[in-house]
């Protein structure tokens, strides 16, 4: 009995396979009270961020590199006015427009960075964890070394290498994204490797091996699908870190040229000297944009993380109906819940895992 409760408690109910899942909705139903509030707030802020990025051309009154309107130049460091609701920058750009366009740049960088690091990180983690041996040991030491190093410094070095410091829209976006990618690969790698090592010892992997499934098949079919449960959490937390790293690079002058794209970190760099003379609008709005974008994504990630950890999951629900938790996980035995079922050796549905390999 004790093993049953422990297994259920440490492995919360999860979603179905990699594609058919709707992770956030599942968590939304699971959450209560405060946690639900945080999750919803995060989702709303993130949704606004994404929508602004998509519809930037419609929302922004001017282009990100536009210096003059129909009645002449905008002028530099103009305070907020009806024409420029957030004022203009030291370079004479419209702050509001650049804040809006900046969302687009940030999203592009996140997408590219996260896709790259997920694919490379997962692949390395899977191979390293499943095959083991010297390759595993070398990769672990390299991963740990990179992980321990200040990520911003590494990103600086990489952005020098990739773009020589400054570049065009896509050059700049790729440089920033790839710098971030290399920094975050070790994170995915660690998680997937640890999960792979755990899953490798599961009985269903052994049975698949006995039945003659090939190594790649076991790796991708049996291990990978069960190793991805923590990915949404790392994914969200990494996206927010990606925004911060991009802004940090921009702030140090490794951003994207202002004529190529709008980037919040670059604008803050240019606003640094404005602050001393009391010009607040050039710094405040791009900064707030960063904070809001990161806050929204982090709230989602934190909530997912808390909901995945029974020690942190809202208590009220457990108090109210203490039997409910174990009921949900047994009621609907999803394929990814298999390892729970295997450990308990309860339901006949635990053969689900073997069907794949037959």
């Amino acid at each position: 009995m004790s093993t049953t409760t422990e297994a259920v408690a440490t492995l919360p109910p999860r979603k179905s396979g990699f594609f058919g899942r709707l992770p956030v909705l599942k968590q939304l139903r699971q959450s209560v009270g405060l946690q639900r509030g945080m999750l919803i707030t995060g989702l709303v802020v993130t949704a606004i961020f994404v929508l602004v990025a998509i519809f930037a051309p419609l929302i922004a009154p001017y282009g990100f590199a536009q210096l003059r309107g129909p009645d002449g130049p905008f002028g530099a460091q103009q305070p907020p006015s009806p024409e420029h609701i957030m004022g203009t920058t030291v370079g004479g750009y419209d702050v509001y427009s650049r804040v809006i366009w900046g969302a687009q740049t940030a999203i592009l960088v996140i997408i590219i960075a996260v896709i790259f690091s997920i694919f490379i990180g997962i692949l390395l983690g899977l191979i390293s964890g499943y095959i083991g041996g010297w390759l595993d040991r070398v990769l672990v030491v390299i991963g740990d070394a990179i992980y321990a190093f200040p990520s911003l410094l590494l990103a600086i070095v990489l952005s020098i290498v990739i773009s020589g410091g400054q570049s065009s829209l896509w050059g700049g976006i790729f440089a920033a994204a790839l710098s971030i990618t290399v920094v975050y690969i070790p994170q995915y790698y660690r998680v997937i490797r640890a999960e792979t090592i755990r899953i490798k010892a599961e009985p269903y992997v052994e049975s698949a091996k006995m039945l003659g499934a090939s190594t790649p098949r076991i790796m991708f079919r049996h291990v990978l699908r069960n190793a991805t449960r923590t990915l949404p959490i790392i994914f969200t937390l990494n996206s927010s870190e990606a925004i911060l790293t991009l802004a940090g690079l921009g702030f140090l002058g490794f951003g994207i040229e202002p004529t190529a794209a709008a980037e919040w970190g670059y604008d803050l760099n240019k606003a640094l000297s404005d602050v001393t003379s009391g010009i607040w609008w050039t710094a405040l709005y791009p900064g707030l944009a960063i904070v809001l974008a990161v806050l929204g994504i982090t709230l989602v990630g934190e909530s997912l993380n808390d909901l995945a950890d029974p020690r942190l999951r809202g208590r009220k629900r457990v108090k109210a109906k203490s039997g409910a938790m174990s009921a949900t996980s047994v009621d609907a035995p999803l394929p990814s819940d298999l390892d729970i079922l295997d450990e308990n050796a309860t339901a006949p549905s635990s053969t689900d895992g073997l069907e794949n390999s037959k």
Binding site: L34, D144, I197, L252, G253, G278, I290, V294, K316
Partner: protein, 362 residues
């Protein structure tokens, strides 16, 4: 440096499942942990070298276009950058082994000297930041655990996330705007006013750590001046870590509040507040020690940004200046040196953690 090929065979990684070794104990753990420093430094230095060299030689990067081609070639030849990369690589490794990280191109100073001059400033900043992080993070984390899932907890958790979500340079700019420009309470930038700096220049044995120097100077005005310059950068950088501490303390206190010995104390009638203050928080601090290791790396990264924001003339500020001058020898040297520092501090932190908590020694 050939240790790398043989070493990993007996070094369980941090993420590897802990082998159930019966004995070994502290001595073996410390030895293994010490040996692990070398591959870490080796990998980082190699990585940085290969990356920086993959874009060509540093002299072309710094001077390209400014000098005629033949002069450029002469310079490259004199510095030995026209030799095969592998030769340069081994030479570089040998130099690093003897503590020589090369000379900067722009002002031709040894990188180690740059580190000694500016490292003190960064150390001082990191120290202030850690103090802020402890003062803010730990009590608030305990408070959040005490009010778990109630309103104050919600506020504190949002605060923690805000600490993380606000880039240090933006936090610094806001602080500057409010406290230096509008309220005019604190200085805008720098480490001390010119007068204090001049006074400290006359000290016989300067440490470069202004707080120590100003105390040695014995003038309360100088100490006050140094501290007033430190407040804003310290807060800007410290809040970043404070948020991490807050979350960590909260999670761990909540964890320990559910353990048997706390339950036993609770059943004896110890109040919930006293449980948090006296019983649950000490074991919750152990993870903080281990996290400080990773925080050092984050603090160093944050220091680059904070120092640029506040013109705090430390390593990060200098690094940014060398970056702007495209002096990649200096950049490579500083980054490699920082790698060494990070590896060493992580080692020290792990040793302290192992001394405090026997469970860490696997």
């Amino acid at each position: 440096m050939m240790t790398t090929s043989t070493l990993p065979t007996d070094t369980p990684s941090v993420v590897a499942p802990k082998p159930k070794s019966a004995g070994g104990g502290l001595g073996r753990y410390l030895l293994v942990r010490f040996l692990l420093i070398f591959p870490t430094i080796f990998i980082l230095v190699t990585l940085v070298f290969l990356l920086m060299r993959s874009i060509g030689d540093p002299i072309t990067a710094a001077q390209g276009g400014k000098l005629p081609a033949d002069q450029l070639q002469a310079l490259i030849h004199a510095a030995g950058y026209d030799r095969p990369v592998i030769v340069q690589y081994f030479e570089y490794l040998g130099q690093i082994f003897t503590g020589n990280f090369g000379n900067t191109l722009s002002d031709n100073r040894p990188v180690t000297e740059v580190l000694l001059t500016y490292g003190a400033a960064t150390l001082e900043l990191a120290f202030y930041a850690l103090i802020v992080a402890f003062i803010v993070g730990i009590p608030l984390g305990m408070l959040a655990a005490y009010f778990r899932d109630r309103f104050p907890d919600a506020v504190l958790r949002i605060f923690a996330i805000l600490c993380y979500a606000t880039p240090v340079f933006f936090a610094g700019m806001l602080l500057k705007l409010v406290f230096s420009v509008y309220l005019q309470w604190l200085p805008v930038a720098g480490r001390a006013s010119t007068r204090t700096e001049l006074a400290m220049q006359s000290l016989p044995n300067k440490t470069g750590i202004y707080l120590v120097d100003s105390i040695a100077l014995g003038s309360p005005a100088a100490i006050g001046d140094v501290l007033s310059h430190a407040v804003l950068p310290g807060i800007a950088l410290g809040l970043l870590t404070a948020g991490v501490f807050l979350r960590l303390v909260r999670t761990n206190v909540i964890g320990t509040l559910g353990t048997d010995y706390v339950d036993a104390a609770r059943s004896r009638g110890v109040s919930e507040g006293r449980l948090v203050r006296k019983h649950a928080y000490k074991p919750a601090l152990i993870p903080i020690i281990t996290v400080i290791g990773l925080q050092i790396a984050i603090l160093l990264g944050g220091a680059v940004l904070t120092e640029t924001t506040f013109e705090w003339k430390g390593l990060g500020f200098q690094l940014a200046a060398y970056l702007a001058a495209r002096d990649f020898v200096a950049v490579q040297g500083i980054v490699a040196l920082l790698a060494v520092i990070v590896a060493l501090t992580n080692f020290v932190v792990d040793v302290i953690a192992a001394l405090i908590d026997p469970r860490v020694r696997y």
